[in-house]
């Protein structure tokens, strides 16, 4: 019963989510329960897949993932091409493609020669196609999931941190340039880093500062001077297509009220709470953390964080004990995947990050996401158990 170790914590968290959904809406509860059963079945199935034979050909994973991302561009309807219908089922290919992406990364970085700067740039170019395809759906949140996974995996496989920094600097300085505090912090941190570096590389330092200044100065210039107001508006609404639902500030405010009013013990038995009176927006998806927090209070959320911590430790154990590189990297990618979905969802509930429609791991309502999670878990656990 080794697999229980992998399944126990996620299943416990999922059951918390199921109970919470039953308190929000019966039909969500029923559907999610069916998805959970399906997910466990899939977990058991994918656990048996032996990756040994195909794992050395990264295109085996890269191409199907790419096709999954291209599919909605032709098959999906409406303005945001994120969902496609499959016999009455609407599913989100960009979620499923994450599985292929993680395996692609595992396969690609399994080879030592790809862990060089050269290999990193090639991997970045390959992955860039994924980012771009999700980005034009448009689904900024999912695109950033891919980027996050790519960044974490690249870091863990041992790509030179300076190289990573070099590539991270461009988008960071572009975004941070809108706030001079953040921008100055970036320059200070960069300078400190360059001083602490073991080998002083002059050209490297010069190119880093060049990127910071170039992106830092040109982005506001282009934004303010070159782009017309309507173009700016287009960019904003492109990045956040669901903004029109309600002002996100109001949602976060209501989410905080739900959490704050719950206090230490929660208000499980109260009928006039934020959730029941529908003040809490999207309690089954974006704000399920606040919804749970309203019921179980500070104490219950501490338990939830403990469960998530156990999940981290499980992956750490896999990475530590596996002999094979691709198993480690699969685990790293999956770990990054979960970290992203935990941290950025909770951060948005606490008002620390914009609400971007990022589901909370094992808790948010949504079939595709749940199946993806258990599939990844099953693949990693299967490989780990066999040792392949």
């Amino acid at each position: 019963m080794k697999m229980l170790k992998a399944l126990f914590v996620p299943l416990l968290i999922s059951l918390i989510g199921i109970v919470e959904l039953s308190r929000i809406n019966k039909s969500y509860f029923e559907r999610q329960l069916i998805f959970l059963i399906m997910a466990v079945v899939i977990f058991l199935i994918v656990r048996r897949i032996n990756m040994k034979k195909i794992i050395h050909h990264y295109l085996f994973f890269y191409i199907p993932g790419l096709l999954l991302l291209i599919m909605p561009l032709f098959m999906a309807h409406g303005h945001v091409k994120r969902w496609i219908n499959l016999g009455g089922f609407s599913f989100q290919p960009s979620e499923v493609a994450k599985i292929f992406f993680i395996l692609f990364m595992a396969s690609y970085f399994d080879k030592k020669e790809n862990r060089t700067t050269h290999g990193f740039i090639k991997g970045l170019l390959l992955s860039g196609l994924y980012f771009a395809l999700v980005f034009i759906e448009p689904d900024f949140a999912t695109a950033s999931t891919y980027i996050f996974i790519f960044a974490v995996v690249s870091y863990v496989v041992g790509i030179d941190f300076s190289v990573l920094l070099l590539f991270a600097l461009a988008p960071l300085s572009a975004i941070f340039s809108f706030s001079w505090v953040l921008y100055l912090t970036l320059i200070v941190v960069l300078t400190v880093y360059l001083f602490l570096m073991e080998k002083r590389r002059f050209f490297f330092a010069i190119s880093m500062y060049t990127i910071v200044f170039a992106f830092g100065l040109f982005t506001p210039y282009i934004w303010n001077r070159v782009l017309k107001p309507y173009q700016r508006q287009r960019v904003i609404s492109f990045l956040d297509p669901e903004k029109h639902r309600d002002t996100s500030g109001w949602q976060v405010y209501q989410g905080k009220i739900a959490l704050g009013a719950a206090g230490f013990w929660g208000r499980f038995g109260e009928s006039f709470n934020q959730k029941n009176l529908k003040f809490l927006p999207a309690p089954h998806t974006d704000f399920i953390f606040s919804s749970i927090g309203e019921d179980v209070g500070f104490l219950g959320l501490l338990i939830l964080f403990t469960l998530y911590t156990f999940l981290l430790f499980y992956f750490y154990e896999v990475i530590k004990k596996s002999r094979k590189g691709y198993i480690k990297i699969s685990a790293v990618g999956t770990l990054a995947f979960f970290i992203y979905h935990i941290i950025f969802n909770i951060a948005s509930n606490l008002g620390l990050f914009p609400v971007a429609g990022i589901p909370l791991a094992f808790l948010s309502y949504g079939g595709t996401h749940l199946l993806t999670e258990y599939t990844l878990l099953g693949i990693v656990d299967g490989m780990y158990e066999r040792g392949e």
């Binding site: 739900a258 704050g260 206090g263 006039f272 009176l277 927090g293 501490l302 770990l335 935990i342 606490l350």
Partner: protein, 560 residues
């Protein structure tokens, strides 16, 4: 790989720790604040209007009370403009009482409309799901007893407060304020205090639960008992049926109580606002409360004042007899007629009052002198304005010497003007209520209590500045008007109880029949009531007004 994985895991755990700190701040430190915010999210207040105090007549008859009506309230910010329009269309209502946008009291329901018809209410109820945030309930509304609609002018009416009044009196939207009459004067006493009910609503404004905490009950306004005798007024109304316009006052000069303050035509308080445009256009001017706002030339009633002026100046005494009346009187190169063309012959003062002899009063005026007459008149403190507790009373008018000078020019003011003045002609104007008070003052030899319809704590006394022992001849004259052989109102004399009074016939500029005036007090020896009657364009005082007064007095004393 392990080292960098450790970094990733530790960084993540660090972020978890930050989250826990943040949660500690939200859930433990700021807990109370968020609890309040949550409460204010769902708890809404709806006003329970206070019942306005009843208004009773002197016998306890209900003149104004309350009836339940439907009220539509709405939670601001829930319905948009087009939905509100739709709501009003379905309800068959024409306009909003208030601009909903101007009120940002998001936690309190505001009243859209009170007194909505049953059909409109059922139309809304059928579609209530379409209109979250809308509450329909029954609230008390002012209702006036239509059996006594002739009292309306005394009562006034109520109307929703204007934005200005909301601030001034610290009222809530939808509250009513009194207008005109008792409703206006005693508004703060009648108003009472609104109560509150609490409702739990969801984010869309749907009501989830009513009264999660006990409501704060409203406090009913005080019941006001007036001095009005509503049934007497109904009787007076019946006496006025043949006439279109007029007024009548029944008043107790010894206490100030007003039993009747009748005006014709009158409005209906229940439908005042709906009828307003029609009332405004009505050529009979029902918006004028003639009892306190109609200003009439007193005609011969003024002869009582002329007599007092002459007595005060000692120009005449009871037995003064001037040149006999031949039907006309010549002064200078002009001749003034007496109303009785055949002449009254020689009369003393009481008999001159009895028969209202113009020629006697011409000579009485001359004996005082024009300027002196006006100066003494001014010193009498004639009650042109009584200060009755009903708003917008009009002031009557007495000319002064300066007024004549201003009007005619210094050199045109001649002694001859005293002739017209002495018989009450000129620009002299009295309201019926001021005539009643004047009558009371004469009847009681110089004083009367200020008239009121709601008894004040300490009634005022109004004084007529004439020595009390000078009233004898005037009172005797007034007695003879009714009881004398030639009295102008002799038709109304009673055996059991002695009436005194004075008739008046006021010329009016439209050349129609004169206004018929009569003012009386009764009983003669110990005055209890004053009855003043004015009937517009009806003829002489003795023909129309006096018989009406006579019937009123019979009723007051239950004489068949």
């Amino acid at each position: 790989m392990e080292r960098r994985t450790k970094v990733v895991v530790f960084l993540t755990l660090f972020v978890f720790l930050l989250f826990v700190f943040k949660l500690f701040k939200i859930q433990i430190i700021d807990h109370e604040r968020y609890r309040k915010l949550s409460r204010s999210n769902y708890l809404r207040v709806i006003k329970v209007p206070a019942i306005r105090g009843d208004i009773l007549d002197r016998n306890g008859e209900k003149l104004a009370y309350w009836k339940p009506v439907f009220r539509i309230s709405v939670l601001p910010g829930v319905l948009n403009r087009s939905k509100l329009r739709k709501l009003f269309k379905i309800a068959g209502l024409d306009s909003l009482s208030y601009d909903v946008d101007t009120f940002s009291l998001k936690r309190t329901y505001i009243t859209l409309k009170r007194g909505v018809g049953f059909e409109a209410i059922s139309n809304i109820e059928e579609n209530i799901d379409e209109f979250p945030g809308v509450v329909i309930d029954a609230v008390p509304a002012r209702y006036y007893n239509e059996d006594y609609s002739c009292v309306s002018e005394i009562l006034g009416y109520v109307q929703e407060a204007t934005e200005e009044e909301l601030k001034k009196y610290n009222l809530e939207v939808g509250d009513v304020v009194g207008r005109r009459g008792i409703e206006a004067v005693y508004d703060s006493i009648l108003r009472g205090r609104n109560g509150k009910r609490f409702l739990v609503v969801d984010s869309r404004g749907n009501i989830v639960e009513r009264d999660p905490t006990p409501p704060i009950p409203p406090v009913k306004g005080k019941t006001l008992r007036t001095t009005i005798d509503a049934n007497l007024m109904v009787y007076i109304d019946s006496l006025f049926i043949p006439y279109r316009k007029g007024a009548c006052v029944v008043y107790k000069p010894s206490t100030g109580e007003v039993l009747a303050l009748y005006t014709k035509p009158y409005f209906n308080s229940n439908t005042f606002l709906a009828d307003f445009k029609k009332l405004l256009k009505d050529t009979l001017h029902p918006l004028i409360n003639r009892a306190i706002q109609g200003t009439y030339p007193p005609g011969s009633i003024f002869k009582l004042i002329s007599a007092l002026v002459a007595l005060k100046t000692k120009s005449v005494s009871e037995n003064t007899v001037f040149k006999p009346c031949t039907g006309s009187f010549t002064y200078g190169n002009r001749t003034w007629g007496c109303w009785l063309k055949t002449g009254h012959g020689a009369l003393n003062l009481p008999h001159a009052i009895e028969q209202s002899c113009d020629v006697y009063f011409y000579q009485l005026g001359l004996s005082v002198g024009f300027k002196r007459f006006l100066d003494v008149l001014d010193s009498l403190n004639v009650p042109l304005y009584t200060g009755i507790d009903i708003p917008h009373e009009k002031r009557g008018f007495l000319p002064s010497y300066e007024w004549y000078v201003k009007r005619l020019g210094k050199y045109n003011v001649t002694e001859g003007y005293v002739l017209n003045l002495a018989i009450g002609q000129g620009e002299i104007l009295f309201t019926p209520i001021s005539l009643a008070v004047l009558t009371g003052e004469i009847a009681q030899r110089g004083f009367a209590i200020r008239p009121y319809v709601v008894k004040p704590d300490k009634p005022d006394t109004l004084i007529l500045n004439v020595d009390s022992n000078l009233f004898g001849p005037v009172l005797k004259g007034a007695y003879l008007v009714v009881n004398g052989e030639h009295g102008t109102a002799r038709g109304i004399a009673l055996d059991s109880i002695k009436i005194a009074g004075k008739t008046g016939s006021a010329e009016n500029p439209h050349g129609k029949k004169t206004h018929s005036l009569f003012t009386a007090f009764v009983p003669y020896n110990n005055p209890e009531y004053v009855v003043t009657v004015v009937v517009e364009n009806a003829g002489h005082g003795g023909e129309v007004a006096a018989p009406i007064a006579g019937k009123i007095i019979r009723r007051l004393y239950h004489i068949e």
